[in-house]
């Protein structure tokens, strides 16, 4: 019997040999994320007169490999907002769980005494919170490697669309796109909604068609994109999220006129 309490419950040295403590320590310093691993590409969002359209494809790439083709990158929050995730997929999953927790807490803390109250976090509150979270993590030099779009309605019921990225930078505009989309899709969307005033003239169908068109352009020109995508429409009636959209009426006729596009045959 070993009478030393610190030895109790441990594998006995005389049976198993002394513990090899070298397993417990590494020789390198602890490292934070320095680059994303599995990534999602662009997220697009556009305001129209009654709400916001937001879309992202269903691909998670592992470098240039199209690794997972059924990853849903839009999530709803409190049945009234949608968050679109670009960038690292594991950080997206972390944020997804975090937002689920936040939504549960919020559902418990509000509306316990006042039956018809609606003080759940609206899209503006959610965007502010996420941007603070992202900035907090980048300040710890351990960033969440994402760029986000938050779509929904603000406290006055007006359409709300804003972006936040891994540095905690925020941006808002009648149309927004992250990643490659900011170069390829943003100019097309700006054609429809150049400024806040023009949002009131845009119908739901116009906005959806424009976003679908942009998703097609992105599939043509962004090598990390996919032809199956998710599309959500947020209005005062709630969120309509469709996660299995397919690109239609593709035309690759332009491709063979461009040298360097696709596989080289010459």
């Amino acid at each position: 019997m070993d009478h030393r309490p610190q030895a109790w419950g441990r594998p006995r040295d005389d049976v198993y040999g002394a513990y090899d403590a070298s397993y417990m320590q590494t020789n390198q310093p602890n490292q934070h994320t320095q680059s994303p691993i599995v990534t999602g590409t662009s997220v697009l969002g556009m305001k129209f007169k009654d709400g916001v359209v937001i879309a992202a494809d269903n691909l998670a790439s592992y470098g240039s490999l199209a690794r997972f083709t059924d990853v849903k990158r839009l999530r709803t929050f409190a049945e009234s907002s949608v968050v679109g995730f670009g960038g690292d997929v594991s950080d997206m999953q972390y944020l997804d769980r975090h937002l689920t927790e936040l939504a549960i807490d919020e559902a418990y803390t509000s509306t316990t005494t006042t039956p018809n109250a609606q003080p759940t976090l609206n899209a503006r509150n959610l965007h502010k919170y996420l941007s603070k979270l992202l900035y907090h993590r980048r300040s710890k030099f351990d960033p969440l490697w994402n760029s986000l779009l938050v779509a929904g309605l603000d406290e006055a019921g007006a359409p709300f669309l804003a972006a936040a990225d891994l540095l905690g930078t925020t941006f808002t505009s009648p149309s927004l796109a992250t990643g490659f989309g900011s170069m390829l899709a943003q100019p097309i969307m700006r054609g429809l909604v150049p400024d806040e005033a023009s949002v009131a003239q845009v119908t739901r169908e116009q906005a959806i068609n424009c976003v679908r068109e942009c998703m097609k352009v992105l599939f043509y020109r962004d090598a990390r994109s996919l032809d199956s995508y998710s599309l959500a429409v947020v209005t005062k009636d709630g969120v309509e999220l469709s996660e299995n959209e397919k690109l239609e009426n593709q035309s690759w006729a332009f491709a063979d006129r461009i040298k360097g596009y696709g596989t080289q045959t010459v």
């Binding site: 803390t109 006042t114 018809n116 502010k128 406290e155």
Partner: protein, 246 residues
Amino acid sequence: MFRNNYDNDSVTFSPQGRIFQVEYAAEAVKQGSVVVGIRNAEELSSYQKKLFAVDEHVGLAIAGLTSDARVLSNFMKQQCLSERLTYDRAMPLETLVSLIGDKAQLNTQHYGKRPYGVGLLVAGVDDSGPHLFEFQPSGLTQEMLACAIGARSQMARTYLEKNLDKFADCGRDELIRHGLRALKETLVQDRELTVENTSVGVVGPKEPGKRPLEAFKVHDGAETKDWINSIADDTETSGDGMQVDE
């Protein structure tokens, strides 16, 4: 030296199951000067010498130890600011009040701590409308339609109970007058409400159900003159059928 053996600290129950320190704290509230608060669907008001604005949309009135009230009010100010910083929204009243409720309750179950010697009426407007909460040193918080705490506040509560049905349809100024009449009930003989001893805090939506706020503001001195004058020759002291001779 002590009233009994069981009131030395807030963690010892008496054989009857009472915690004397918490009861003494409740006494401190009764010794503080009176405050009255009323809310209806669109207006909300409360009064006393010590009215604090916590945030744009919340204010509070105190009865009891001022220094304890300042501790709680500073805490509430910080919580409201942090809510605006992290969520860009006004702190929901119920959340705010339950925070100070928990904070006060904690003081009743730690050895070496004492309960707060102050009662509060917390008034404010959030997304779900106007609210009035009562806070007690035991940590108990409850939402009220109208409430009065402090010295001789029972008289005010009696007035408020009698007139409760009227508050919902009152305009802003009428509701304030109801509050002043309730406050008047608590006065001892030969004392009157004057611009020196009365202040009125008001917070409410600009229009019923609308977001832009009439931010919490404490009116005192000359600002309360018209309200006080308008109830000065009021013979209807405690509601219906209590006409007094000219």
